[in-house]
Amino acid sequence: MNNQRRTVLKSGSGAALLGMLAAAGIITPGMALADWNKAAFDAKSMADTLKALGAGSPADSKDVQVTGPDIAENGAVVPVGVASSLLNVTMVAILIEKNPNALAASFVLPEGTEANVQTRVKMGQTSNIYALVKSDGKFFMATKEIKVTLGGCGG
């Protein structure tokens, strides 16, 4: 066990830790999380998130499907899937309208990967879930409401 590493891990928040690592020269500032779309994940409202993703105002499409339970007993683990029959899908994102930050996850799909992704998300309360799909450079969206009887954010 590397005790120094343990101490570093215990000593506070992620931001402070990153700062320390940066100061120690282990990672250079700007390298960490460089690829992660911070603006999109920090955005609170749906509109801001869509803007940060460069999606503007996507059109509703019947060719995008959101799957999930109608009622989720436990908001901490809500199975959600996005599928689309649209061609050339390059990006899929899952947004939860009433969570503190709307964007839950985004996926970049290279050619050959099907527009069919399943994961599990947390939901703070009953909310609409949006599936955002980028096909041929255009954004499309579908919605499903999931009722949550027990929230997954906060105690």
Binding site: G14, S106, P110, E114, Q118, T119, M123
Partner: protein, 103 residues
């Protein structure tokens, strides 16, 4: 480094379905502990899956992905015995990479 991921990959009719179960706390940074102090955010930010050297899925996660994230996706191609590599990075800079062979 985190605990090992569970990765299952199965090829059927030329399409490989990959299922990944990652072991990670995925702390949101919204929760408070019993003393009322906010538990700092700790979550996976990026996860990449590769078939051999080719990236088949690259994803970005926010803190609202569930604890011990589950992910399933499908890609065309892949043959029995091919190697699938999944790697993630979290907001503390920790990383982990695991491999599995397609069944």
């Amino acid at each position: 480094m985190g605990n090992p991921m569970k990765i299952r990959a199965a090829n059927k009719d030329g399409v490989t379905e990959v299922k990944v179960l990652v072991s990670h706390e995925m702390e949101t940074g919204q929760r408070k502990d019993s003393a009322g102090a906010i538990v700092p955010a700790w979550f996976i930010t990026e996860l990449t899956a590769k078939h051999g050297d080719k990236v088949v899925l690259s994803s970005e996660f926010g803190p609202s992905v569930s604890k011990n994230p589950y992910l399933a996706f499908k890609f065309k191609g892949g043959a029995k015995g091919d190697k699938i590599t999944v790697s993630w990075k979290d907001n503390k800079g920790d990383t982990r990479s695991d491999e599995a062979a397609i069944n």
